[in-house]
């Protein structure tokens, strides 16, 4: 069976640790292959009928495929014995029928399997996606986005290969082998015994090759990994490398590892690729054995010429499935390992759902209280310790303190991205734990320093939090956010598509879009993170004005870096090592001459104030 080249995507993908050069077999294995396999089967369960059909079709095509050479042998023998043209014609027609039917059955099985496997995979992708969405931020915090992404795509692709092609291949190959052996014994048990000699040799070789290949590839992977990390480091640090005149040393280190990769590659691939020529030669040997033995038997009238010809045909057909089996086996192992990782994600408990009696939160006045809140990302290592604070409706609360003091964590808790370990957070007298999570988040508007934009137009991005907003509303929001002037200067204005990660916008412009996005959702409470740097003065002023407009009349929590913001805030909370160490207005704090005073005084400086 042909293997359509679905790996074409893989050929352009950088090889990580899992793939070596050439046809490197997958090395990773599932820890519990049986359970993973059974669970994979569950995705196929809805297609029981279709799968039964596929199975029957494969059975049929295998059987008919085997009947072909048998009929050919009979035809030749009939020819020699009777020299009857009509009988020959009958036989030929039979053969045509058998071949056509066999190939049609083959095509149909693969055809049907395409639909089944892709629908099953579609379901798996859907489940994976919705489950990922339900996971708490904790899950994403511990995994770099790029790594998670490449793992998911690789694993799904491996499963795809296994389900759509290798499963059928395995079934077909196994059935063929059994069928061929059976057919051989039916035809002539003496000749069939010849296969008893070849098969063990073949299996022995395959086994030996597989073992030395595995060893070789493990070695190769190790060196490839080392070479890749040298490359990665050298390439990402190339400027420093050049500035510190270390090119020679880098070249030397690289070439040493390059040489190792070459040696390991020669060893591994010499063994791995040996399988093909060796099986070819064994195939020849098989044919030779049958011809010799068959000739001898024929002279003793223990077999016929037709049988020999049929046998040779079988022998040629015999080698292929045998050769495929080990490849398919490896691929399926890899797929199971991938599936296991996918299931691991599916088994990660999601964010706890809302309680059935969770309260709705339609509008908020904006009264926010933290009562003795303690929280840590890791058990036993609190980042926030016993924090209490109160914001009255419409107040602006500035959070200041050194990087890593816990300002962002407070915000995360308010958004209910995490649940406090102790204490509670109350909005308008309702504890947020008892409020519907979606309602709560709808009432909170967030503008972060690093603005994440989605692929789509500028318009789509502003509208993100309220998809039903009209174009006029979007433009109005952009005007309020002072984003309108720069948007109009973009090549297609509001319809300008934003490229991946919005690299066509500056950081300041992206933040203006985020402000517009937040204005449009009209939240009751605001969470802002001021930009620290990389914004030019003019955009900076715009951002300030936009933010001021946004904050008017809303309770706002600002992770503040600008003196203006801090001075105008109703309360300033100074956070240090997870605790509120000082609080009051700017003037009060300056008058107190405490930690904040010292921070501000040492020299006023961006992010430390």
């Amino acid at each position: 069976m042909m293997r359509p080249g679905f790996s074409r995507a893989g050929e352009f993908r950088p090889r990580g640790l899992r793939g070596g050069p050439g046809h490197a077999p997958q090395l990773d294995r599932a820890r519990d292959p049986r359970r993973t396999f059974l669970r994979l089967l569950r995705y196929l369960a809805p297609y029981r009928l279709a799968l039964t059909l596929v199975f029957l079709l494969i059975l049929l095509s295998t059987f008919l495929g085997l009947a072909g050479p048998y009929l050919m042998g009979r035809a030749i023998d009939g020819l020699i014995a009777t020299r009857d043209g009509a009988a020959l014609a009958r036989m030929a027609l039979w053969m045509v029928a058998v071949f056509v039917l066999g190939n049609v059955a083959d095509a149909l099985s693969a055809w049907r399997m395409a639909g089944v496997s892709q629908r099953a995979l579609q379901r798996m992708r859907r489940e994976l996606f919705t489950h990922l969405q339900s996971l708490s931020l904790r899950f994403f915090d511990s995994r770099p986005a790029g790594e998670l992404m490449s793992r998911l795509t690789n694993d799904i692709e491996a499963i795809n290969q296994a389900v759509s092609q290798n499963a059928i291949g395995l079934l077909g190959s196994a059935l063929s082998l059994v069928g061929i052996v059976a057919a051989m014994f039916v035809l002539n048990h003496w000749l069939a015994l010849a296969s008893a000699v070849v098969v063990p040799i073949m299996l022995g070789f395959t086994n030996w090759i597989a073992r030395s290949t595995r060893k070789g590839f493990r070695e190769l992977q190790k060196h490839l990994g080392e070479m890749n990390s040298i490359l990665e480091e050298t390439l990402s640090g190339l400027r420093i490398l050049k500035a510190f005149r270390r090119s020679q040393a880098a070249v030397h280190a690289f070439e040493e590892e390059n040489e190792e990769v070459y040696r390991a590659g020669v060893y591994a691939n010499s063994h791995a690729l040996l399988l093909m020529p060796l099986t070819n030669q064994l195939g020849n040997l098989f044919v030779i054995a049958i011809a010799g033995l068959g000739g001898w038997l024929a002279l003793r009238h223990l077999t016929t010429v037709g049988t020999i010809v049929a046998f040779i045909s079988y022998a040629r057909a015999f080698i292929n499935p045998l050769r495929q089996l080990s490849n398919i086996y490896n691929a399926i192992q890899g797929a199971l390992a991938g599936a296991e990782r996918v299931f691991e994600i599916l088994d990660t408990p999601p964010e706890p759902p809302d309680a059935p009696d969770a309260l709705p939160l339609e509008t908020v006045r904006g009264e926010v209280r933290f009562e003795g809140v303690t929280f840590g990302y890791l058990p036993g290592r609190p980042v926030i310790r016993n924090v209490s604070l109160e914001a009255r409706p419409g107040q602006t609360v500035a959070l200041v303190g050194p990087t890593g003091a816990g300002k962002t964590t407070l915000v995360n808790l308010l958004m209910r991205f995490y649940e406090p370990d102790a204490g509670r957070i109350v909005i308008d007298g309702k504890e947020i734990r008892r409020v519907r999570k979606d309602d709560l988040r709808r009432q909170l508007g967030m503008v972060l320093q690093d603005t994440f934009l989605f692929s789509g137009t500028v318009m789509d991005n502003i509208r993100y939090g309220r998809p039903e907003a009209s174009d006029e509303e979007v433009i109005r929001a952009a005007q309020l956010a002072e984003a309108d002037p720069f948007i109009r200067q973009l090549p297609q204005g509001y319809q300008t598509p934003l490229s991946e990660r919005a690299s066509n916008l500056s950081q300041g412009q992206r933040q203006l879009l985020a402000i517009a996005r937040a204005i449009l959702t009209d939240p009751g409470i605001l969470i802002l993170d001021e930009a620290t740097s990389n914004v030019d003065t003019r955009t900076e002023a715009r951002i300030q004005r936009g933010l001021l407009r946004l904050m008017r009349g809303r309770t706002s929590f600002v992770i503040a870096h600008r003196l203006n913001t801090i001075r105008d805030a109703d309360q300033v909370l100074v956070i240090r090592d997870g605790e509120i160490v000082e609080r009051g207005t700017y003037r009060e704090l300056m008058a107190r001459k405490g930690f904040y005073y010292r921070l501000a005084m040492t020299q006023f400086k961006g992010e430390t104030i």
Binding site: P4, F12, L278, N284
Partner: protein, 594 residues
């Protein structure tokens, strides 16, 4: 194909092995082709004539040939692997060396990820095509051609009967190959869209949650998921018919041979042995055909890789050393002059990042370069070690144009702490020693102390021998920056360039670093790029830049009085003059501390 052939020079060191490998392959194919003939001999001359001796002799000959053939096949295998791997190794080496010669301007246009693919992946793809060509890629067509020739030699009329079949089969293959590529292309596009949604939802999970858009995102995902699935099913259904179609062609051929050959045999025109041989040859014609379809994929991938490889190999370094470049004399004074310097990243056509900059910086001076993002500060200092060449004007070190100097001798006198801290794997000690591997431990400690890094380093579990994990994740931003400063100090540079490198260091520590630098940099020149007045104010002179031009030069006090732009920047950072009083106090405090 053309792209791959342009890499042919890389095959040159291995031409003997490659040739030998091909010769062995020819022999192997010839022997493979002989076997059906010999089987025919057993049938026609052994069995038909009841001659046991012929059977035995032929059998033994075949066995001997087969044993020899196995040896040759293994030889071909090993040689082809050696050639392929060798070419890959040489390509990697050439790429790596070329990348080392590239200058910053080249690197700006290449992303690390792209380079990574070109070095780690592309040579392997080329290796595969080399190795495949030396094996199955030549073997398959040889087998086919040989089989066809032998079919004709076995029986002309039967062979002629096979011509239409071959034509039909070729047509079928052409049909599939031509249809396949666009199908896969559209499938890849759908896959990219699917991955894009997934990627956005992973990277932007916070925003999705904050705006309560999970269900809408799920719908969006399901839309692309459905599109991709449908497309995928169509492609796979199409592909499902390919194998059986080709196999049907071959089977029809076999029937035709048996039938037509049988009719001829009745008339005594062919023997049964000939029919058997014919069937055999037919089977070995069709097998290679299918393999060749797959080879098209390998070549397509290799062609794309070869193109990417050549892009790097043919890249000309923008900054090249003059053939008559002279070394910077060790006695040279660190006096830097920018003489009417204009610079644009795109040569003379782009918008200039620096315009007509004239500056003279004296030995022993600490100069702060202040301005907002995009003012051209970093660009200016990067011209000193000749990371870029100015589009117009000159940069002089001790009166010598940097373009006339050996870059290595220039770099040996310049220490640089970049904006983005890059540390390498290894211990902290290794990292500090990076620019001067022969430095003693005492020197390392001294540099670390000056950079205010010593105190935190000794508190780490293994002190200076603490391992820096990948990208330095086990260190805070400020700690990494201080290590980078120590690294630059250790080279005892005559010119030190600090490119906005204390952004994550807290204020008090920064003040201490500046004090230590005063000591360390006596008689040396220090260029300090910053966006902050607080960092700049203690420098001997402050150069204020705006949109590529130097707009003011002077001390903090002078500039406060005379430069409107400096006042504006100061105001935006210090708060509209309200803090002025306080900051003056602060200044007094700082002065008194000294």
């Amino acid at each position: 194909m053309e792209q791959v052939l342009k890499l042919l020079p890389f095959l040159k060191p291995y031409w003997k092995k490659a040739l030998l490998s091909l010769v062995l392959l020819f022999i192997v194919v010839a022997m493979d082709l002989a076997i059906p003939r010999l089987v025919q001999r057993i049938i026609d001359q052994g069995i038909a004539r009841q001659d046991l001796r012929v059977v035995w002799q032929t059998f033994l000959v075949m066995l001997g040939l087969s044993a020899l053939n196995t040896l040759f096949a293994v030889g071909n295998n090993n040689l082809s692997v050696q050639v392929g791997e060798g070419v890959a190794r040489d390509l990697r080496r050439a790429l790596f060396r070329r990348v080392q010669t590239l200058s910053f301007g080249n690197l700006d246009r290449l992303q690390t990820g792209q380079l990574m693919v070109r070095l780690a992946n592309d040579p392997n793809v080329v290796q595969r095509v080399v190795q495949v060509t030396l094996r199955i890629g030549t073997r398959a067509p040889l087998m086919m051609i040989g089989s066809i020739i032998l079919m004709f030699r076995t029986d002309l009329r039967l062979a002629l009967g096979m011509v239409p079949l071959l034509v039909v089969t070729s047509g079928v293959i052409a049909f599939f190959v031509l249809r396949m590529e666009p199908l896969f292309l559209t499938m890849q596009q759908k896959l990219d869209r699917l991955n894009n949604v997934l990627q956005e939802n992973i990277a932007g999970v916070r925003v999705v949650k904050a705006f309560v858009q999970a269900s809408r995102e799920a719908e969006r995902f399901e839309r692309v998921n459905e599109e991709f699935t449908q497309r995928n099913i169509r492609v796979m259904e199409f592909m499902a018919t390919m194998g059986p179609s080709l196999s049907l062609c071959m089977n029809i051929g076999i029937v035709a041979v048996v039938w037509a050959g049988g009719l001829q045999a009745i008339r005594g025109q062919v023997t049964t042995g000939q029919i058997a041989a014919f069937v055999n040859y037919l089977q070995s014609t069709m097998g290679p055909l299918m393999i060749m379809v797959n080879l098209a994929n390998v070549w397509a991938a290799a062609s794309a890789s070869a193109k990417r490889i050549r892009e790097v190999l043919e890249m000309e370094p923008e900054v090249r050393e003059a053939p008559d470049a002279s070394p910077l004399p060790p006695t040279a004074q660190p006096r830097i002059v920018f003489d009417r310097v204009t610079f644009s990243y795109n040569g003379t056509v782009g918008t200039p990042v620096l315009q007509d900059v004239n500056l003279a910086i004296e030995p022993g001076e600490t100069v702060a370069i202040l301005g907002t993002t995009g003012a051209g500060k970093s660009t200016l200092v990067q011209l000193v070690p000749r990371f870029y060449d100015p589009s117009e004007g000159r940069v002089l070190v001790d009166g010598l144009d940097v373009r006339r100097l050996q870059q290595d001798s220039l770099l040996a006198r310049v220490g640089i702490v970049p904006q983005e801290t890059v540390l390498f794997s290894g211990t902290i000690r290794d990292n500090i020693r990076y620019g001067r591997p022969e430095a003693t431990d005492e020197e390392v400690v001294a540099a670390a102390k000056a950079a205010q890094a010593h105190d935190f380093i000794v508190q780490l579990p293994h002190g200076y021998d603490t391992h820096v994990e990948e990208r330095g994740v086990n260190l805070s931003g400020g700690q990494k920056q201080r290590i980078a400063i120590a690294r630059a100090l250790l080279t005892r540079p005559a010119i030190l360039i600090l490119d906005d490198c204390t952004s994550s260091v807290d204020v008090e520590t920064e003040a201490r670093i500046q004090e230590a630098l005063r000591e360390w940099m006596k008689d040396r020149t220090c260029l300090m790029v910053t966006q902050r007045v607080s960092t700049a104010r203690n420098a001997d002179r402050i150069i204020v830049m705006d949109r590529g031009r130097v707009v003011a030069v002077g001390t903090h006090q002078e500039l406060l009085r005379s430069s409107p732009i400096y006042q504006e920047i100061y105001a935006s950072q210090m708060g509209n003059g309200l803090l002025e009083e306080d900051s003056r106090n602060d200044e007094a405090r700082l002065q008194s501390r000294r």
